[in-house]
Symmetry: C2
Subunit: 461 residues, 2 copies
Amino acid sequence: MNQVNLNSLKHEANELVPTALDVLKQYLKFPTVSAQNMAIPETVEFVVKMIEDADGEAEILDDLGGNPVIYGFFPAGSNGDATKTLLFYNHYDVQPPDPLDEWESEPFESTVRDGKLFARGVADNKGDLVARLTAIKILQNLQGGLPCNIKFLIEGEEEIGSPNLAPYLEKYRDRFLADACIWEFGGKDEQDRISMVAGIKGMAYLEFTCFGADIDMHSSVGAYVDNAAWRLVQALATMKNQQNEIIVEGFFDGIEEPSDEVKKAVQALPFSEEAVTNLYGLKRPLITSAKGEDPRTAMVLQPTMTICGFVSGYTGEGAKTVLPKSAKAKMDCRLVPGQDPNHILECIQNHLEKHGFHDIKVTMVNGQKAYRSDFSHPFISHVMDTATQVYGKEGILAPNSAGTGPMFEFGEKLKLPIVSTGVGWVGSKAHAPNESIRLQDFEDGIVHMAYMLQGFPGALD
Amino acid sequence: MNQVNLNSLKHEANELVPTALDVLKQYLKFPTVSAQNMAIPETVEFVVKMIEDADGEAEILDDLGGNPVIYGFFPAGSNGDATKTLLFYNHYDVQPPDPLDEWESEPFESTVRDGKLFARGVADNKGDLVARLTAIKILQNLQGGLPCNIKFLIEGEEEIGSPNLAPYLEKYRDRFLADACIWEFGGKDEQDRISMVAGIKGMAYLEFTCFGADIDMHSSVGAYVDNAAWRLVQALATMKNQQNEIIVEGFFDGIEEPSDEVKKAVQALPFSEEAVTNLYGLKRPLITSAKGEDPRTAMVLQPTMTICGFVSGYTGEGAKTVLPKSAKAKMDCRLVPGQDPNHILECIQNHLEKHGFHDIKVTMVNGQKAYRSDFSHPFISHVMDTATQVYGKEGILAPNSAGTGPMFEFGEKLKLPIVSTGVGWVGSKAHAPNESIRLQDFEDGIVHMAYMLQGFPGALD
């Protein structure tokens, strides 16, 4: 297949963007809030139509429970390489739009202001799906066919933790097999660099409960009655020391030694303590600074143990002299490749037992393993190189994000490298009011996907 | 003055109870909720009328802010001992009646059921005032005058912590001077023994706050951003060890060595671990049992440090991956005689500083010193002895309660022994729905006060 030059791709993208935006605006009208089970069938129907309008084949998979998973397939053109396949992962569901009164325009009536398109789900993740389908159209228009097979997995439960995805991946593994995968999201950072990740941290989200009594008591009995809040405070304090070091035996078991490429990529990541401090209004230095460590290393290569919530007794204004009957805490441990959430739970249970806290119950609300792509895979550098050319500026590729998603199931079942990139930006406000993408990012993201796809078969050879 | 025998007092009390109950029922109609500033002037007017109806002099003190303090005075009869004075402390305000839907009858429409009178404030503390005024009437009827001077201090802010009482005691000290004081409340325990206290623990109610950032953050930044919840957990854990021992330097400074009488009285107090465990549904052994200590000693003679509340981050259902911007805790330290709440605050601030927690702010919401009467004072044994005779069963007198009240100001400013006793019972549900007193306890309490007053001058000689 002849390679179309980048400028021709850009020109064609510019031609197609108005139609693509019309389609995206229709797609954004569906209030597909999975947490509230809203608008699922009609959104599925619309997604299928978008695939078919782009000359793809669509299949609705819904025999394993949950919202349907949509499989999309676009075969390589006659002059393309049918031995190579790229998989796109997207989701059609969105976050709830609340709080509604903070929106400057209707969340499900997309609006353009200042070169940005505002709507719930535009950045996470409806814009990316339309951009990817538009990239396919560019190649069809300019090449008369696709350079490789292209598949889509578009699910409808990402925003509620993809609880039903694994069985679909298992049963329909053959349909989704591919050589590489582009993950759902991504975008530009505060310095306008495209920021991508090739993996994701795992998670063990735990809930701790301690019951001391059946009822709240007058605090005067604190002279002789044990206190659930003190118990939980003492128990948690044994798990992490004042230097912020996790001191639970076995917590670090199995962690994979990162490769040299990974370490090098981590060193190349941008990080500004000042920017982070200003962004959040931090009152204390970074914990990595206090330990003389590199925040980038911690962010990508080290697990965390974060108290997300703690509640016990009276929490209102002023004084209430109560000895609380119970105390609860929520904790989020972000895991790195090689760690197993079930093992983490077990280590923490053993730790509590060993320290005399058998009265504190720990349960896992949510457990996911980490995934990190093989950083030496040529797909990784292909995505990076094409991004640099399209965006005219070196991009950033982290070996894995500091956040979490259902990537492990893909990596484990499909055995492929994964890179996440998309049309968002640092101000996209995914999950918040006034979610947006910038129109120029949308167009550039289309070009990047088209350009990346065009060179994809060659890059793997 | 001739002594009237106990049976005559009982007979006269029985005659007067119907009228006394009528008065009490009128008094209970006033919804005198100080927390909501309700019905204050009309209640004050009614209390003044009750004093005057009993041939006493009433004075409304209201020049120092807050709800008025009522001073009542009944001079000794011509055949009484005008050199001896007893002071009664009462309050006319009540707790809010909430939750209203748990009341079986209207909180401000008193109702008699099963030999009990139900209404908000009947046990705490309106019933006691009417009982005491009725005792005065008995002595007037049977003796033609009172055996000693009797004074009342009746305040209207006890249920909100008596914030304005001290200045009134200071300015009007001469009016309130007396030889001994009967405190506001008390009643029968689960074995129908009259249970009294001759002192009260103090309190340092503290609030801890830790701000880590201006906004809640995504928990993935836990890799490098410090966590206010962890900070507060770590800080609190340095203040009390896993054996429930308070390990803040200086916390125990100045504690007065209890006298032998006090120690003996503590040993005589009833205590059942089984009863306490069943009452509250405790899940763990008493902390005193674990330490091999006596819960009665802890209850009366040792300070406490109780976490009353803790809140940080996400506390709802399921998982929210947030790194909280702040954490707050409330702590109630019950103090024993000799401890100073300001010193406690200072010790805790120094402790936090010393342990590197200068980012945690501590403020005192409420500070009160403990008070314990001189246990060798003849008034103490006089109240005990008369109770045993009236109730036909040995009573219980604790050197101080495990709870707290504004008693220190009285003891400090007026220099007198104080005993708290009243017409409640173990099921009175003060501060809760369906507050009640038992009619027989009301009548017996009237007799006890009359009998105690009759022998009061002689007991002090």
